[in-house]
């Protein structure tokens, strides 16, 4: 199963949401939707109208910059990264 790594800004918003979670999914968006089923509201924190990835978040699949449609393999690692910004 793909291995999803989430940013630390996300986990305090949802009870029991770990930084690292495995989900059965064929694409990045499907993985996010699977997480939404367990933690309602989580999709909205990553995906905006479009659907599109929120502007200051990046996703990487197996170390390569990815998008919502990027396929996931059985052993893929999906990193959701919050941009280094703010002040």
């Amino acid at each position: 199963m793909p291995d999803v790594r989430l940013p630390g800004t996300l986990t305090p918003l949802f009870t029991g949401l770990p930084r690292r979670v495995e989900v059965e999914a064929a694409t990045v968006l499907e993985a996010i939707d699977r997480l939404e089923a367990s933690w309602p509201g989580l999709r909205d924190r990553i995906v905006e109208e479009g659907p599109a990835l929120r502007r200051h978040l990046h996703v990487y699949v197996d170390g390569e910059r990815a998008g919502l449609d990027t396929p996931l393999g059985t052993g893929s690692r999906l990193d959701v990264i919050a941009a280094i910004s703010g002040g």
Binding site: P7, T9, L10, P12, L13, P40, G41, D44, R45, I46, E48, E49, G50, P51, R54, R55, H56, L57, A82, A83, S85, G86
Partner: protein, 357 residues
């Protein structure tokens, strides 16, 4: 024993200040995980606190606490223009309670409502069809700050009747709960050319006096007053140190008494001459008095935003001002004297006040 509760929205979360005597205050927070809070309010009907917030990473949501800040949840379910519309909710800017509905104003300009205390939301209106509304989403027509819907004034006697403000466009009133709207900008000053007679005004803050016919507004160009529930406006700037400001508050018991905070209208947008003052009229704007006792009078370049001043409903009302440099000033005597009750909060966007048990 009752307590006075201040709900303070800042660029780094919400804070609460509590006092039994309006002189000694205890601070709690930050709440809302440090998200930028644009407006935080107390709903006397439900006893809940709501905070409209927008994270640059994680989008817009309304946070809610049903236990005076002990625990918090957030929701943005339904707070969206959908995947087909082409518009996006970049932030939620302002909140109000209208009867059993909670309203939140968004950018791009639109009003969402919740009928379950902020758990779920649905789009109420985008004010589509109003003059010029087709260009509101055009970046070339958007004002700096980009709040979209920047204010509400509700009517305690009729929850279907309320005003909203579209930033840089003007005030609008609905009498049917948000289905249809009428521009309410007649008589306002406008120092620039406009494409439409009824819109194109810069209403910063709209408030209602205890007499619902008497309203006041701080505009980009001048203070204005209405004696006919916003149907027509006349300017009452004379006697103030400038015509620009954001915050405004109406006395809860006297329709002639009203407070404003003039600031420099250029890039600075801080109080005039580096001397902090709140200005009060007791005669509906015919004359103005500056209130400075206890406020800093040297090197005090303080800004206060449109939701940054609140007034409580006590017999002798208390006033509360939050600055863009993180101070909160409080007065327990209608503004005659002031105390700095907290000094080092993040930049303050809003202050609301409630009396709680």
């Amino acid at each position: 024993m009752t307590r006075t509760l201040l709900i303070v929205g800042t660029r780094k979360g919400a804070f609460l200040l509590e006092s039994e005597d309006r002189r000694d205050w205890q601070l709690r927070g930050p709440f809302c995980e440090g998200w930028p809070v644009y407006h935080a309010i107390f709903d006397p009907g439900s006893g809940s606190i709501y905070a409209a917030a927008a994270s640059e990473w994680h989008g817009s949501a309304v946070w809610r606490s049903r236990d005076l800040g002990e625990s918090w949840e957030l929701s943005s379910e339904g707070l969206s223009y959908g995947d087909e519309d082409g518009r996006k909710v970049s932030k939620v800017s302002t909140l109000a309670v209208a009867g059993d509905r909670l309203l939140v104003g968004a950018e791009a300009p639109g009003i969402f409502e919740s009928r379950d205390g902020g758990a779920t939301w649905s789009l109420l209106s985008t004010l589509a069809g109003q003059p010029g509304s087709e260009s509101w989403d055009d970046p070339a027509h958007q004002p700096p700050g980009h709040l979209g819907i920047s204010g509400f004034v509700t009517d305690t006697g009729d929850s279907d009747r309320f005003f909203t403000v579209v930033q840089g466009v003007g005030a609008f009133e609905t009498e049917d709960g948000g289905t249809s709207w009428t521009p309410r900008n007649r008589g306002l000053r406008r120092d620039w050319p406009a494409e439409h007679e009824e819109v194109g005004f810069c209403v910063h803050k709209l408030v209602r006096s205890p007499d619902s016919r008497r309203m006041y507004q701080q505009n980009h160009v001048g203070m204005h007053r209405s004696d006919d529930s916003g149907q027509t406006w006349s300017e009452i700037t004379e006697g103030l140190p400038g015509d620009f400001g954001f915050a405004a508050a109406a006395h809860p018991h006297d329709k002639e008494t009203f407070y404003v905070i003039p600031v420099d209208g250029g890039h600075g947008r801080t109080m005039h001459d580096g001397k902090a003052a709140v200005w009060r009229t007791r005669d509906g704007g015919s004359s103005w008095q500056d209130l400075r006792k206890g406020l800093p009078q040297e090197d005090a370049h303080l800004g206060v935003l449109r939701q940054g001043m609140a007034i409580d409903g006590a017999d002798v009302p208390g006033l509360y001002v939050g600055t863009s440099t993180g101070q909160v000033f409080a007065s327990a005597d209608e503004g005659d004297t002031w105390n700095e009750i907290v000094s080092y909060l993040p930049s303050i966007s809003s202050v609301d006040v409630a009396i709680v048990d």
